[in-house]
């Protein structure tokens, strides 16, 4: 079986046990798999992942005794799950994160989860079903003074835009080509679930790194930027490519990303506004000084 290198994070089903030194993110399906996973991976276990209807399995939730869990909420309305579950979720601690879809329920889900100080992450690989809800979520993040918990990837985008360096979307969305791998339930290896869904894979667990590097997927990822310029795709004339880095249209060059561009522009505006405010505050402080103290 393929051994992934150290310093990589591999998302894998609980049925597939990976040897080596890589960190793992394990998709669990039954309560009894949790102790076995913990024992096998030890410190290599980065987090557990639960998806969809499994979140309603109270026994499964109660079986989780690690403090890093990624919950793929999918189409589920968090308000529909029963109270005991919320209580159990709260016990998971601050390292847990809810992956939520940009659909009609977005703002309600965000409001509810951040109110409990639970991290949320909007899944950028899913089509935006309700643009208005996404814009409201951005507004909620930027202007709600009660908010204490970051909403990703908005928070990271804002920080990166402000500092002009930081993690790219490829990294926040766990598609960093150098560090992230995804193993499907059938043992296929890819970059993430969206690539598998589009039948793009490096190979299987029986293949070597050299085999991976010969794959169509590897070649596509390695030449993504160049191909963008070769085909003069709309991305090369896009004012947000420095933020997106081609992530949104990596698979489909026609992917509808206008709403995300709108979000990027709102965040860029907020950064400018913030910087202007800070500059004005500094100026006022300077003016408040006596003439002798002022820097000329």
């Amino acid at each position: 079986m393929h051994v992934f290198p150290k310093n990589t994070l591999v998302n894998t089903p609980c049925e597939t046990m990976l040897d080596g030194e890589c960190s793992v993110s394990v998709r669990i399906s039954t309560p009894d798999s949790v102790p076995r996973i913990r024992e096998f991976y030890g410190k290599r276990l980065f987090n557990l992942e639960i998806e969809g209807e499994l979140i309603k399995d109270i026994d499964l939730i109660r079986a989780i005794d690690v403090n890093r869990v990624r919950i793929i909420l999918g189409d589920i309305n968090i308000l529909e799950v029963e109270g005991r579950l919320i209580e159990a979720l709260q016990k998971m601690g601050a390292q847990s994160v809810f992956e939520i879809n940009p659909d009609k329920k977005l703002l309600r889900n965000i409001n509810f989860l951040t109110g409990l100080d639970i991290l949320v992450h909007i899944d950028m690989t899913k089509p935006v079903q309700d643009e208005n809800a996404l814009l409201q979520a951005v507004d909620f993040y930027l202007h709600n003074p009660m908010l204490r918990t970051p909403i990703e990837p908005i928070h990271n985008l804002l920080v990166t835009m402000n500092r002009r360096r930081g993690r790219t979307l490829w990294s926040t969305e766990l598609e960093n080509v150098k560090t992230n791998f995804y193993v499907s339930d059938q043992g296929e290896v890819s970059l993430s679930s969206r690539w598998i869904e589009n039948d793009m894979k490096y190979g299987t667990l029986d293949d070597s790194v050299k085999d991976f590097m010969k794959s169509e997927l590897y070649n596509k990822l390695a030449t993504l930027k160049e191909e963008m310029f070769r085909s003069k795709s709309s991305c090369v004339f896009c004012g947000n490519l420095d933020v997106c880095k081609g992530f949104l249209r990596a698979i489909d060059s026609e992917w509808p990303c206008d709403i995300w561009k709108k979000v990027f522009n709102i965040l860029q505006g907020a950064v400018r506004e913030g910087k202007d405010l800070l500059r004005k505050i500094d100026q006022q402080k300077e003016l408040a000084k006596s003439p002798d103290e002022q820097v000329t």
């Binding site: 360096r165 004012g239 490519l241 420095d242 400018r272």
Partner: protein
Amino acid sequence: MRDSAAAGTRSLVFSGMGEPTLDPDFEEYLALAEELGFDSISLFTNGYGLKAEDVRRWKDYGLSSVLISMHGMEDGHDRNVQRKGSFREAVSAIRLYSEYDILVTVNTCLTRLNLPEIPRLCEFLAGFRVITHTLTFPEWSGNVPLYEENILDYHEVSEVAGDLIPEGNMIAMFEDMPYCLVRNKTREMQNRGIVGLLDGTGEHEFDGNARKIFPESCSGRGCVFQTVCSGFERNYIKARGWQDLKERVGRFLDLLNDPEHGDTILAELPDHPRTRRSPKGSRRRSDRGPHNSQVVIVKPTSRCNAGCRYCSSYKESQPPDMSPDFLDKMYAELFEYAALQGKKYITFLWHGGEPLLMGKSFYDRAWGLTTTVKDLRITHILQSNMLLLDNDWVELLSRYNVHISSSVDPIGQDRILKDGRQQYPDWLDKFILAASGGLHLGLVFTVTPSHIDRYADVYHFFKNLQTLSARPLGVRLNPVYPAGAAKGLDPGELIDPADYGEFLCRLWDLWCNDGKSFPLSPFTDWSEGKGTTCEFSGRCQDNFIEVSGNGDIHHCGRFTDAGLVLGNITNAKLVDILKHPQMKEIRRRSELLKDGSCKGCPFWELCMGGCPCHAYTTFGEITRETPYCPAYKMFFASSGLGSVEDKLEVN
């Protein structure tokens, strides 16, 4: 690192008993440092094996400054560090870090082997963006006792201090040299910071703990400079004794206590009432300017393998290519001229036609001939469409550190090949080859009417293209003008000045709102307060000439395209050729315009009348203002660059 960050430490330095970047986990440490939020992250390095991609990543991880060791010139440095090629590596590292705006400090450990080379090294480093160059008296530790014969005496440094760091050099400074021996050229004084190196004050006895020692007279006679003095190396004194150092200290203290000289010396002391501080942030700027630099545009061929519709260099009858044998004659003439004019820097811009058509052997000779030239700093730039570029070219260009400038247009339909196909796809492949080969690349964009409404696409394309290159890509904007093939264009295909002004205004807004994220000429120069590119300098006549394949001399590439020949260096001296009436006219131009049609123009300092050749090709008169005057006026007024407030800020 975690503990230090938690304890409030704000600055972090990666150093090592060896070279820290060799640690396989170096990047992991750097990433952690970034995560922990240190305000400044520094690296002590020798530049070994550095690549542009490394610098780009490390910059992203927050690396803010580096200290690079250079212990002599070329072989001198290699001998000192005992590895061939390490000088070139260090120079390359300085260039790379500077390009990414990482602050570079250079450290030189003074020894008997390298002392004679230091003035040359200081001069050499003045051409780089080095913020500080420290000349360090060695600590008496590590390998030093093994090479004792190479270790200088203090007085040997003291006696040549003025030659090593001449007055006005604010970059170089001594480290670990006592104040009285080199006066205000010490690190502490140059930095105007007070340091607490008082661990050995007043001591005579060796206690084995403190590394530094002061003669008793320093405290006994109340030397006020002890707060900014490094003192003497304790183990040096232990090994070699005080020699005449106490007498030297005594003579300085006599001067200090002498009413006639004391005030002058005291004025050097920071925070002393009579101290005159340097202006905030001041440091020596490069002395490079039109008076001592020369740009030589060489057009070895007029042939071209492309068919751009607006090509300004196109000629129906093509003169012969430059003969390789002519290079000797050309260089001899140019270097003689440079010596006569006191030029220290020469940039050769190899132009065409398409210069790569001359072949590799021509350039191997052309560039190789300049590697042995002393007393002149020579740079080569190639203006090329890159269509012939291959791995061998990349290797040749890298070997001679030749920069490439290339034109591209992803939008218009005017840049085509001879067979009518668009150049862009082939150009992009070559661009990727050049960028992945680590070449220094610059881009030229010719603005035509088809770009006016697509200003945002133009801006974003060049901004996004940066992602394909590990090095920053500067972009220069030029309006299409009626010379060469462009003479045959319909007037509607040439750019109207009002449209060009509008284009500049919109592009400027995007560039500014985007934090001026890449060098965009002429905006970069203008935003720094003054036009410094040739056409806005008002002094292009002082430092631009063009040499054609047959030895014809023109003022610049544009005048070559316009066909105004000044003479030929195969039958006349360059210095005489440049006395041509046309050059006199260009020299008079600034004065005529300033008192004539540009009189009272609030934007004069930024424009200086613009390009004389643009005036000539449009109006038939060199002494007219640029035909793009309405465009520039519209731009300066809109951008606020020429405003009174802005001028005050600049001054």
